[in-house]
């Protein structure tokens, strides 16, 4: 019975962390940039956060700040050169990050090697996760409805035109990338502090594509979309048990179908502002 409760509790928590991951993807997608490093950034945050808790015993709020800052720095190193290039380049630069880090984690003993890190104290609960999610969501909604949101939309529709209008495209892209990686790291640290165990294999290509599928399903018209997408795609395999084994097939299929049948619905449309 405890196991059952625990299983549902962790499902409930992962709804929140997956929604934060979906928002992290939204942050770059709304500019027409695609990052495939979200899982890797999540992993950096999870490892950085867990190590700070386990080895230094830092207070949790500080751990969260660090877990957001470290992947943001990594994002600048990896994604920095692509800020002046097209959105495709960011995808190319980040696609390999997860795999490289996996090999690095496995071969570094003081981060637990192939076994990963276990015994991470549980420091987070529903109120922390969903409180943070609510604050972030409100922040994103306010931002998209402000001058920032209009600038992002302009960049997504036509980068050159946006630049001519006086929008500092590179600064916007850099901010979006830093926010995106920071949020992914935050979600990773939150996740690690309720599962109490992390391993090198969790932050690979499939996780990256799953995070993308949340945002694609929800659409980027409003930040609410990706959050709903994350809820649906996290719950669906649990509600429909047979789907569980085909989770990856399903996530892949969702992406293909949404992009083909709603091609403008995914990236190219003019965002309707939600009321």
């Amino acid at each position: 019975m405890d196991d059952l409760l625990w299983a549902y509790q962790s499902l409930f928590y992962s709804l929140g962390t997956n929604a934060i991951l979906a928002l992290s993807m939204f942050s770059v997608l709304q500019l027409g940039q695609l990052s495939l490093g979200q899982a890797a950034f999540m992993g950096i945050g999870a490892y950085a956060g867990s190590l700070l808790t386990l080895k230094l015993g830092l207070p949790f709020p500080l751990v969260l700040v660090a877990a957001a800052a470290v992947p943001a720095l990594a994002a600048l190193v990896v994604g920095g050169p692509t800020l002046r290039l097209s959105g495709v380049h960011l995808a190319i630069a980040t696609i390999g990050l997860g795999e490289v880090l996996r090999v690095l984690y496995i071969n570094t003993d003081w981060v637990g090697g192939a076994l990963g890190l276990s015994g991470i104290p549980r420091r987070t609960g529903g109120s922390t996760i969903f409180g943070l999610l609510a604050v972030l969501l409100v922040g994103f909604v306010l931002a998209t409805r402000s001058k920032i949101g209009r600038a992002c939309e302009a960049i997504r529709e036509d980068e050159d035109a946006a630049r001519v209008m006086g929008i500092d495209v590179t600064a916007y892209k850099m901010t979006a990338l830093v926010v995106s990686a920071g949020l992914a790291g935050l979600a990773g640290a939150l996740n690690a502090h309720f599962t109490s165990f992390i391993s090198p294999g969790e932050y690979g290509f499939e996780t990256a594509v799953s995070i993308l599928s949340y945002a694609i399903l929800g659409g980027v018209a409003t930040p609410v979309g990706p959050v709903v997408g994350a809820f649906v795609l996290t719950l669906l395999p649990e509600v429909l048990r047979p789907l569980h084994d085909f989770r990856m097939v399903f996530n892949g299929l969702i992406i293909v179908l949404v992009v083909i049948f709603l091609p403008k619905g995914v990236l190219g449309f003019r965002a309707r502002r939600t009321g």
Partner: protein
């Protein structure tokens, strides 16, 4: 020792070049970063494996079958997902995203069909004892790999530089609308290009599968990263650049594994890619003028 490493690097590098060549060709003509390319790589290897194990074919007929399987898979995938997007004039990012979903879908399906474990070609297929050429130890298979890769690369160059079809391909890469006005059957050429480039990926998959004697559904993923590194270092759509960068990457990987640490081998392609993006984002042989996507 060094000579041996250089030879091993040549084997690996020529396969990388072969893989990246098809990849960069698709990009040059279709203007799409096609992540399904990693799936075609694995599809070729599985096609050949099934032909050997299931149908009892020899090495060459099985390889030919694998190559055709990869090519046909690309034609089908293209017509199902990429052609509709092209017709709708969807943004560049949409086609990247759709192939991303596609590769996750296909790899998972392949895993369901064949299982996740590593499968191997029968040892009898892989040929005789290694030969000694002075200080070098050379497996006959390695010679076959290098020769096959070089012949395919040379054939591709000849087709692109010397034939009418090649001229049509170059015209489409330059400007598809104008090419159509000049009487090029764009649909036919585009289909042909996606068949040929996936066939090259399939061939690379078979050669890598034979070289390490390991075939599994996710073998395309690490290869995609190398493919990306090669086409960025060589310049997107630049065939000559892909050749040089492919050989160079094979060399760097083998030298890193041999003289630094075999664990770091996996990080070579990624580091080279990031370095290239910082230093020469338009590729090694970038022309000074002209805007590239």
């Amino acid at each position: 020792m060094l000579l041996q490493q250089i030879f091993n690097a040549l084997v690996l590098g020529s396969v990388y070049a072969l893989f990246a060549l098809g990849f960069t060709l698709t990009f040059g003509v279709l203007k799409v970063i096609n992540l399904l390319y990693g799936f075609y790589f694995a599809a070729g290897a599985f096609g050949a494996l099934v032909a050997v194990q299931g149908l009892g074919l020899g090495l060459w007929p099985a390889a030919a079958l694998g190559v055709v399987v990869a090519g046909l898979a690309a034609v089908v995938c293209d017509s199902l997902v990429l052609t509709p997007l092209r017709r709708a004039h969807a943004p560049e990012l949409s086609s990247l995203i759709v192939t991303l979903g596609g590769v996750l879908l296909m790899n998972s399906l392949m895993q369901m069909a064949f299982g996740a474990e590593v499968r191997r070609f029968p040892v009898s297929l892989l040929g005789q004892e290694p030969m000694r050429l002075g200080p070098l130890v050379v497996a006959p298979l390695q010679v076959v790999i290098v020769a096959t890769a070089l012949v395919l690369v040379a054939a591709l160059f000849l087709v692109i530089e010397r034939t009418r079809l090649g001229a049509a391909i170059r015209a489409i890469a330059e400007r598809p609308d104008t090419a159509a006005l000049m009487g090029v059957d764009v649909t036919r050429v585009v289909t042909l290009v996606s068949f040929v480039s996936a066939a090259l990926a399939g061939a690379a998959g078979i050669l890598i599968g034979l070289n390490f004697n390991a075939v599994h559904p996710y073998m395309g993923e690490p290869m995609m990263l190398r493919g990306f590194a090669v086409i960025i270092i060589g310049g997107l759509g630049d065939i000559r650049g892909a050749l040089v960068a492919g050989l160079g990457l094979g060399f760097l990987e083998v030298m890193t594994a041999g003289y630094v640490s075999s664990n770091l081998k996996e990080a070579v392609a990624f580091s080279a890619l990031i370095l290239a993006l910082w230093l020469r984002p338009s590729g090694l042989f970038a022309r000074a003028s002209g805007r590239r996507a």
